[in-house]
Amino acid sequence: MTLTADRPVRTASPRKPQRGGRQGREALLLMLPALVPVLVFSVGPLLYGIFLAFTDARSGRNSVTSFVGLSNFGDLLSDGDFWASFRIGMIWAVSVTVLQFLASLGLALLLNQDLRFRGFARVLAMVPWAMPPVVIGLMWRLVYHPDAGILNSMLGTEIDWLNDFSIALPAVIVVGIWTGMPQTTVVLLAGLQSVPKELYEAVEVDGAGVWRRFWNITLPQLRPVIVAITSLDFVWNINQFGLVYVLTQGGPGGQTRLPMLFAYEEAFRYGFFGYAATLGVAIVIVVLAVLGAYLWRQMREAS
């Protein structure tokens, strides 16, 4: 334990930043080129989006935008479609994150073993990462195709995977897990490799089996990595758009309408920009709340 505890200390001894005076101004000047794009392309649109959430902005040249205060948020809370979409979003984000984590952990443990062709296998595991979400969506649409898909021909079934009211969401979740596995696997693999060998040697002397080694050494050592990657995965997943848009466009009957798809429809299909912005803000709040609670608990348990 002491070995790993060393490292943060070394990095956590920064030089005291010298604020104020000429040096501060110079530092600001040097930061400016990097700061401008951030302000223009990131902070600006963000603030504009938050502003829109309090207006009744609609698409069209005839529409007059006026400030409506919190009424959008009121509408949102009483909108059954939003809650349905929110529920689907949570099912999606939680199940994809959890299952993805479990599958990736298994894969990472496997790839960490001294196998033959390990390098090749590691490259193979990365393949989904190299594909854009749209291509993944198209590819899986072919897999799930009711007549020409390989899934039905392999199973000998005649299921319309993406159009069945009860199967569509699980089918999409499977694709979500597949898509996100490489990132999670790489991060976990890196975490596994930084677990000091001495620890394993020490417990082996004590006569611990495989399971105990995993439970008492690997997992605790991986903990910071696991917390980081699962929280990142959760944010990525709840904000997922492209993949599901290509796969189902939110169908059938809204069974796979994730919150972001809902917001997209509100904005670009029905033209309610203000309401869509409200949705975006609401999701940001939810993500912050969930992450905050999760990280806080993890931190507390760790310390």
Binding site: R58, G60, D147, N163, D164, G253, R269
Partner: protein, 431 residues
Amino acid sequence: MRMRVVLAAGLLVLAAGCGSESPAAAPDEPVTIKFQSLAWQKESIAANKQLVEEWNKANPKIQVEYIQGSWDNVNDQLVTSFEAGDPPDVIHDDSPALSGFASRGYLLDIKDKIPAELKGDIPQPAWDTVTFGDGKGGQGVYGVPFLQESQVIIGNKKLLAAAGVRIPTPDSPWTWDEFAEISKKLTKGDAYGVAWPMKSPVNKVLNLALNFGGTFFQTDAGGKTTVKVGAEEREVLQRIHDQLHKDRSADPSALGMGSADPLPGFYAGKYAMLPAGVYLRQQVVEQAPDGFEWITLPPLKGVGSEQGAVSQTLSVAADSKYPEQSLKFISFFLNGSNQVKLAKGDWLLPTSVKAAGDPAMTVEENGWNVATASAKNLVVAPFLKVNGFDEWKSKVATPALQQYFANKITLDETAKKLVDEGNKVLERYNR
């Protein structure tokens, strides 16, 4: 010194910015207009491109750039390009989409700008499908309607002949009652009389509901539109439901299919009849196995044979810098003889009277005579004028009708959903 260089550079940038803002002013300069087409069938794309080429050769001063769009995402794409202020000049779309665009001021009102010849060649009912409120209390014409779709029935000739049923003609079509009887007669063993592909049930049901006078929407004196599901609206719903679950003459497994999906089963004799849009004939011609004989049957008759019509349209963007040139191009593109080419390419019905009289449109081959005759039943679909119809359709009506046809909810429950939840949706647009 350095200051001056910076200033000069800044001015240059400004000047360049201004330069690109002002459109080519000189009247003799050739202009380029962008034409976004949604043609997707091979023959149709060929016809579109050929007409554009023809025009470009004859009009060196007004060059048309062909842009390929797609029905799948055209409305999202157009909203973004309208908002960004850089839409195509000539826009191909369909009339349900125009309603929203018109009221938001994206499209040019061409009411007083349509050349007389073009205006006279297209009958008033078709113009009605492109006449909408401008969002400021007025009415305008927001496109030129050119292709229309009617619902017909494609039948397996051998099976119909074997059952010895009367073959209907446009002058004496089947009634819905007759259709139900015949479907039962054609249901034998594994084979069903009919397949209703109901993946997107809303437009189909709403268009057919007019057979019994069902409009689904009503507008009160104050101009407020609400959903209505009364006895007239229930007729077609109930009849299709009966075929599925009472007569068992319609294949329930076809319910989840899109329009073209039942075709393989149709060729195999699994269903004898297939209600479909006239355009589906193209796929039957191309894909049907050799020796497969089929026939186009005219639309059914309820109280009347009226069907709701929507049109494919060409519109001019309000932001277009060359509205006159765009209209000139549209008038050429949609003249009688060109509409014949476009209609043949898309296997749809031309709005042009001249085109409808063309021999190519009235031959018996591939059911063109029956298809063209069905055009007289087309009236403007009531839902076209409903603001918020798109949201009602995708959020309320599609799931409700799918559940009803799958026999998961009763007709009363369906009606209640359509009305209660529907009115809530429309409320947003009435504000």
